[in-house]
Point group: C2
Chain length 564, copies 2
């Protein structure tokens, strides 16, 4: 639900059957940025990591038809163009966008794809002028690499030799004269040294050097032999905007063959960031980092120049998002994943006998209830010991909390437990048991195990882990109450329910007051998981705590039955 | 790097310019499953949430060319087919796959797309027999909806009326006779009641009812008015396998118009799970859940039947993956995001004066060093107080640890600190300060603030949060040492370094032994973050702790300078 406002982004480009470049790379990049992707296809390619084997152009009318379908129905926040194939398609794209922008101007990034790395022509030469004349004038950003920049500059008889950082700066400024609001000249094919950046920046003090891709100052401890080496020659992307803003984005040069689709990916990532409202400088900073890490984290796919990894920044949620039909996804998964133990606990023989009214009284008396607000008429002595642990665990939860809301919620529970405990004392007094005797009654191992485990969990982990430990008791008794009531109703044994000697106990746990506490408990667990989504390791930790407490609960009932 | 083995999955289908169905939906689904997506396009559609406006078929030779490009280069682990457009394309797809499967059989899921929801023909009628005859025989799973099943059954004069769950079971079994290894008949258009499932399952005891989509037993507490309502009529998908295995997948029926691309998405998700090695039953269970949640979490896109949300199961990593050129991404981001404070600490005037050798001796003496293993020749008394806190924080870290490795690492640090402390006592004795006086020296507020904050953080959070709190000291002194040494070297003031009265201090912190401890600390932080990736909230918590400790460190030096 948090993603309901994901920005829609449109790519207008060619396809890459192998999935590493073209609209496929764009859609993967949009998805990795949690944006919604639409795509208009200008040409199909049969392609893999070894090269482009064949191209099938799409008729301009059909390109127009696709654009109309998308733009008439979906409010896109950013558009990028890639391979436009030929002059007709380039013209129809430019004209359609021009018309659309009359209503609403949105960021447009033009990746002037001309020739594939393997030398395949992806834009007919006669289309280059069309692109410059008809598309550039309302383009937010053009993102050529070295050879594309050289082709564009030659087209207008501008100096087109780019061999170093100074050339790049001149070229980027000259490309601006072709009409776009900004130019990002990519430096992947031009090795640059640190000293060169310092020299050019010194001569052009208005240039901002965005250092994020490199170790910054006061990061001596992060230097390793590996980073020292990787930072010896750099890749620098140069951004020039029509308002005069100029920035360098240096980063380490990676030795990698996984560079297929790098240009598509970078321009797609910039478009996402512009669509999210980021400035051009910030969008470029984030997108160059995303692309760089994609190359560095690439898997081995194909036998040639493999694709970069578009997924490096993604992980999968380990708990489903809360929704109307599944408002308690974490609890549901905890119960499902520990189903057997949970059932052993909430449908324990003790519970079944209790529901039938045939549970031996001694068992009920011995049973260490987790009952806090609902004292039965008679009180087993172990309860006294357990309640102390339980109160301490809530006190610990209060001590581990940072907001008054949470501190008070936990503290109020401590008061409840303490009140119940003093009521227990007076019951015991009625039976002739003194407080001293109560204190001196030996604590059973099951009580120690469960009580001490709660305290240990609270000391060892954070407050959420403690909440998970306290939940098995709270939720389990709620489940027992509802289940007993449902069974009584379904089996038509409502008379047995009414005459059950343990009626009060059953009514307490199935009743509204306790069920309200259960719902509060569920809300606490689920809202914590939603606000701080657990990693797989963290979820596993919670599940372990939940399962352990479920087993310890079951142990109480085993013990109670064993005395009968 | 953990994703380097992401499975490659291929879709062979039509496009949807609006991005909700077709290969676009498939690629998004593959990405959401962290699989690598490739795609072969059989036809282009100009389409949006209101319907299909135009179709452009791709020539069969070019379909074959795309398949050859992909299959000759990329080792795909699963293939799905969607819209095949016409008989020629269906035939070429079937023949190419048949040849490919001679070498290596992999899961093939056929979504027999025939007609769009809006009534547009997506598979020419004469292609249906081709699909049955030439593709089904080596298909792992066919996934028709009601109308597709009816078309397929009619084609072979089999009973084709499907109005309830019993009809579905019959239809699915009849579809099996057309050749595929299994059939998943989707129930989206057939409302089913709970009682119907129970009745059909009772008559067919071999049927497995997979309850994951509904609340199971012992989940009374998770019932809400909302879930009770949503579970009143159900959607049931029916899986029949040629080995006789039959399963029902019931789930709540959602009232939603965001169902565009549901079929594409489901078959794509199943293909991913099969590609990951899951069984057909498990793949269907996971994929139906993924698709269901996609509908439930859909955003409003377009003015008609909008797309489901393919991204509901994804989140973005908040710390970059560790890589060769960025082995310490968390620390780098902590330093970068608190750059000003960090610089105030590690390039404090105290540090600069110390590096020049001009720091007043009183300042140095008063300064509360975090020095553990590196006592200076003279010892300020505050150190004694601080070291007690620091030792207790490490003892607490040991108490919060679960493995002997971690317990011992923290405990050894406690020993180091205690040893240093007793050395301090003997120094003090030389100056005529007794242990009693040492204990009675008033603790400064800066010492209390920092020391107590460490202990509080340790009590309040988990062990990783405590590690973050202890890091600012450990790493900061390492940074100071390296920075001072670098400055001395770069400024050519090596003579000053050699004759600096604080030479030993500087050599200790820039020396190999301390730097080894720094690297161990970095490794601890980074490996914890990689094993248990933080949510945005958690990272923010760590950053807050880090920044607070950085400020407290700076406070020590402020105090030391102020006494001179």
């Amino acid at each position: 639900m948090q993603r309901s406002n994901s920005e829609a982004i449109l790519t207008i480009a060619g396809t890459d059957s192998s999935g590493g470049a073209g609209i496929q790379a764009d859609l993967k990049t949009f998805t990795a940025h949690l944006c919604y992707g639409a795509s208009v296809i200008t040409a199909l390619t049969a392609q893999n990591t070894l090269g482009v084997q064949a191209v099938h152009g799409v008729p301009p009318e059909f390109v127009e038809q696709q654009m109309s379908s998308v733009l008439s129905d979906i409010e896109v926040r950013g558009i990028k163009t890639g391979m436009l194939f030929d002059a007709d398609n380039t013209r129809i794209v430019a004209q359609t966008l021009k018309n659309h922008f009359k209503e609403r101007k949105i960021p447009l990034v033009c990746d002037p794809v001309c020739v594939s790395t393997s030398g395949h022509v992806l834009l007919h030469p006669d289309a280059i002028n069309t692109m410059i004349d008809e598309l550039f004038p309302f383009t937010t950003l053009v993102t050529p690499n070295k050879s594309e920049a050289e082709i564009l500059l030659s087209q207008r008889d501008l100096p087109a030799r780019i061999t170093n950082l100074e050339d790049m700066l001149v070229a980027a400024r000259n490309l601006l004269t072709l009409g776009p609001e900004a130019v990002l000249l990519k430096g992947g094919h031009i090795p640059v040294l640190h000293a060169e950046i310092a020299r050019v920046a010194a001569h052009n003090p208005q240039i901002q050097v965005v250092q994020d891709g490199l170790l910054g100052e006061n990061m001596e401890i992060l230097q390793t032999a590996e980073t020292a080496k990787s930072e010896s020659t750099l890749v620098v992307d140069v951004l020039c905007q029509s308002d005069g803003t100029t920035a360098f984005y240096p980063r380490p040069r990676l030795e990698s063959t996984s560079t297929h689709g790098t240009g598509c990916t970078l321009s797609a990532a910039i478009t996402c960031q512009l669509g999210k409202g980021k400035s051009l400088m910030e969008a470029t900073r984030l997108a160059t980092a995303y692309t760089h890490m994609g190359i560095e984290n690439a898997a081995a796919i194909g036998s040639g120049y493999g694709p970069l990894n578009h997924l490096h920044s993604l992980s999968q949620l380990n708990v489903a998002q809360r929704s109307k039909s599944n408002p308690y996804p974490l609890t549901r998964s905890l119960i499902r994943s520990t189903g057997g133990v949970w059932k052993d606990y909430v449908q324990h023989d003790f519970v079944k006998l209790l529901g039938k009214g045939t549970l031996p009284k001694e068992s009920f008396l011995h049973f260490i209830k987790k009952e806090i607000k609902y004292p039965s008429n008679e009180l087993p002595q172990q309860d006294y010991h357990y309640l102390k642990y339980y109160a301490r665990a809530y006190a610990l939860l209060a001590a581990k909390s940072h907001s008054f809301g949470r501190i008070l919620q936990a503290t109020e529970t401590v008061f409840h437990i303490a009140r119940e405990s003093s009521m227990h004392k007076s019951y015991c007094a009625q039976w002739g048991i003194t407080e001293e005797e109560l204190e001196n009654t030996a604590e059973s191992p099951a009580t120690t195990a469960y009580g001490a485990y709660l305290i240990d969990t609270g000391l060892q982990g954070d407050s959420t882990k403690l909440v998970m430990a306290l939940a098995a008791c709270l939720l389990g008794y709620g489940e027992v109450g509802l289940w007993l009531k449902k069974e009584a109703k379904q089996s038509g044994s409502w008379v047995v329910w009414q005459s059950n000697p343990y009626l009060k106990w059953m009514e307490d746990y199935s009743g509204e007051e306790y069920q309200k506490a259960v719902r509060t408990g569920l809300e606490t667990i689920e809202s914590r998981a939603a606000a701080d989504p657990p990693s797989a390791a963290k979820l596993d930790e919670w599940r372990t705590v939940w399962e352990k407490c479920t087993r310890l609960e079951k142990g109480f009932w085993d013990m109670a039955l064993s005395v009968a």
